[in-house]
Amino acid sequence: MKRERPSLFAALLVSLLVNVLLRSQTAYWPRAGLFSAVVCAPLLAGVGWLFARSWRLAADPVYKLLFGALLVYTSVLELLRLWQLADRLYPGAVTLTSVCLLVVLPVVYLRRVSALSQTAYAVLCLLVLATVAMLASVLPRLCIVNLQTAALTQGDFLAAVRDQLTLYPEYLLPALWPEQDKRGRHTLLRLAAWALAFDVGMHLILELFYGAAMPLRIDPVHAAARCGALSIFNRLEWLQFILWVMAVTVKLALYLYALVRLLGGQNKAEDSAAGLDRFPLYPGGVWLLCAVLRKLDLDAALSLRNVLTWSFVGLTWIGGAAACLYRRLRRC
């Protein structure tokens, strides 16, 4: 019951799972995804591990600024994605400013890593419960006959691999945590395995639900949840949406923590909170960027984010390798 060394695994996992839930369209058939996940999970974990090793050697202010910019850009995309979804579901009810305000407001209480860790655990539990409730509520509509029997092509596998190899910043964040070696073994592997398993599982449910029409549906998870009824509630998509908003908030709080660690606002104590005096800079900056980029094509921007993340990882590897080589040469 004493809080010691709070783990951010749940926060990382929630941040990854919400990517699956907020997806506007499905990307691959689950059969292809199942096979590719076996390869992609260790690959993603390996990329994260190598990045962490390189980061220790190569991290200098330029890299830190680049990483910070990547996190801010991802925060903006997440907010825009949530806003667009909210606008599709409840047209005219929420503006971009109100979405920014509502998502960022609880971050005030998530500035301390122990609070973030505990809240992420709670949100993860609620997310799992809500997903189970959604499953239970749509169970009669899940039909085995909806499973596609057509032979998979190479294109299907490639689509699955391409989607699963989307490199989210969450795989890179553990490199920033203090005493990362003591965080438990195979953290990144567990993270990738859970995230991809959830992704494939969700695709399977959607295939059982929609059948051949799965790739055509916009906001497929939300649309499926809309059909579920439980007790006095006709539909349960609002419950799902509440949890998605929570998960996005946890994600932004995680990014804030990472930004504070990156850009030097954090003192040596791991659990010290980001100061409230610096705090308005983050939501203010993110809101401003959201306002500027509000008409952005999100799908293209998310693809660009993936390219940028891979490029940044590549750059860090090169920097790490160069730093390692330089040290060895100096020793010689």
Binding site: A93, L102, V103, P106, Y109, R112, I232, V245, T249
Partner: protein, 481 residues
């Protein structure tokens, strides 16, 4: 006041006291001769009894043989040899003298001696021990703390009959020099927690300390967090149970409520009856309390959100009823709910603060105005009134979280009413983050509820049977590495 030592001269000491308390009519001083040495008795008549002093000390001194050694000899004799039950430590400075007099002791000042001898002759008016007023329980001990610190300590010690119970009395840094007592079990309570608590209490500096709750704000880590940093009880039995869990109890003089530190969220849903009744029934009641808390906080907000933003989630027959109710009222659902909830709070506050003879009238008139007139006039719809009343009643199921329930409820109504589903999500996560972020003395505030585990069903959401609970009592220091 500076730590000025007592004067050697009796007259000088008395002159100083006269200067300080001379204008107070309850200040009592009497010169007398003991074994031929000039002495004086000083006390406050309302706090201390001259008869008791006479019976306890002076009669006995008259019978004692004459002492050699003058004033110093008399002082030493009284402190170390005499059968007279004097306090073991001599009074040596003016600050201690004033404190002892204010505590109801009588002090014997001796001419030619820089020390005084104190006698416990307190006889102050006090409220007798009664049944708890705000913690209703059907079973278990029915006595409550009173305003007198020593009585409260004795009530606690009577329940907790081991040599490990420590009661450290200190004086707070207040203008009135109020005393408080830090109680803990020296073997069960974690030392670092007790040390930290002792240090924080020592640092507290406030003009007046009338309630143990004044300390709570100083013990909070995050001042923006609305969840309480400590729990309160007026039952010695509850305080004793917390001591057995390794927690600390702070008693403040003049306050019949004990402060319990650290306090966890789940404790607000526990009561003595839980452990006196069967496990199944207790578990059911506890789950009902959690649901009541959720209803109290989210019920009205959820209603406003559903009616204003997401009517599609409500079954059609229920929606028809709600729409009929809402159609006849002029205000939008959020304002309507806010008004009714505010009015209910005003009625409650008025009923609480009004003199007891008219408080029932206030409640009755409030209920009549809101319940009957407002509905029949079409100002408020019946569904809104029903939901607000249900939430208010649900709040009382967890009285120790009353303040939080009300504040959260208003926030949820406003956010859900303005922004719909995202607003409700924001409110829910803010509350969750507050609960998760609360960290009393480094402990998880949500323990044993989060993270979910065996402890959550052992004595968390529900409670296990006694034979299992008894196997390993819950002690906060046990889980520390």
């Amino acid at each position: 006041m500076t730590q000025k030592p007592l004067y050697r001269s009796l007259d000088a000491n008395l002159a100083l006291l006269e200067e300080m308390f001379g204008r107070s009519d309850d200040f009592y001083t009497k010169r007398l001769m003991l074994a031929g040495i000039p002495c004086a008795i000083v006390m406050f008549t309302g706090l201390s009894s001259p008869e008791k002093l006479c019976r306890m000390a002076l009669d006995m001194l008259d019978r004692d043989p004459a002492m050699l050694g003058g004033g110093e000899g008399l002082c030493d004799y009284l402190l170390t040899q005499s059968r007279v039950p004097a306090e073991p430590d001599a009074v040596e400075d003016h600050t201690a003298l004033v404190e002892l007099l204010s505590n109801g002791l009588s002090v014997l000042l001796i001419d030619g001696v820089r020390r005084g001898v104190a006698f416990s002759t307190q006889e102050m008016p006090q409220r007798s021990i009664s049944t708890p007023m705000s913690e209703g329980n059907l079973r278990g001990p029915q006595e409550a703390f009173t305003e007198l610190l020593r009585n409260n300590i004795s009530l606690l010690r009577r329940q907790f009959r081991t040599g490990t119970l420590v009661a450290e009395i200190s004086t707070a840094r207040t203008r009135a020099k109020t005393e408080y007592c830090l109680c803990y079990d020296s073997t069960l309570a974690p030392k670092e927690t007790i040390d930290a608590l002792r240090e924080r209490l020592k640092r507290v500096e406030i003009p007046v300390l009338l309630d143990s709750a004044y300390f709570a704000s100083f013990l909070k880590q995050d001042k923006l967090n609305l969840f309480p940093a400590a729990a309160y009880t007026e039952r010695p039995a509850t305080a004793c149970a917390r001591l057995c869990e390794g927690k600390a109890v702070v008693l403040v003089a003049g306050c019949p409520y004990a402060l319990i530190v650290p306090s966890f969220f789940a404790e607000h849903f526990e009561c003595l009856d839980d452990y006196a009744s069967g496990a199944v029934f207790a578990g059911l009641i506890r789950i009902l309390k959690y649901l009541a808390f959720l209803l109290a906080v989210f019920g009205p907000g959820l209603y406003v959100m559903a009616v204003a933003f997401a009517p599609e989630i409500i079954p059609i027959r229920l929606l028809t009823k709600l729409a009929q109710g809402e159609a006849s009222t002029p205000l939008p659902p959020m304002l309507e709910m806010l008004c009714v909830t505010l009015l209910l709070e005003i009625v409650r506050e008025a009923g609480l603060r009004a003199p007891q003879s008219i408080s029932h009238t206030v409640s009755l008139v409030g209920a009549l105005i809101i319940g009957e007139t407002a509905v029949s006039a079409g100002i408020v719809s019946v569904p809104v009134l029903t939901m607000a009343a249900a939430a208010t009643i649900a709040t009382l199921a967890v009285p120790s979280l009353y303040e939080q329930s009300i504040l959260f409820r208003f926030a949820v109504i406003v956010l859900a009413g303005c922004f719909g589903v995202p607003g409700l999500a924001c409110a829910a996560l803010t509350i969750l983050a507050m609960a998760c972020g609360s960290e009393p003395f480094g402990y998880d505030y949500l323990y044993p509820l989060m993270p979910p585990g065996r402890a959550s069903v052992r004595d968390g959401f529900v409670r296990s049977i006694w034979s299992r609970l008894a196997k390993s009592g819950e002690v906060i220091s046990r889980h520390e590495a």
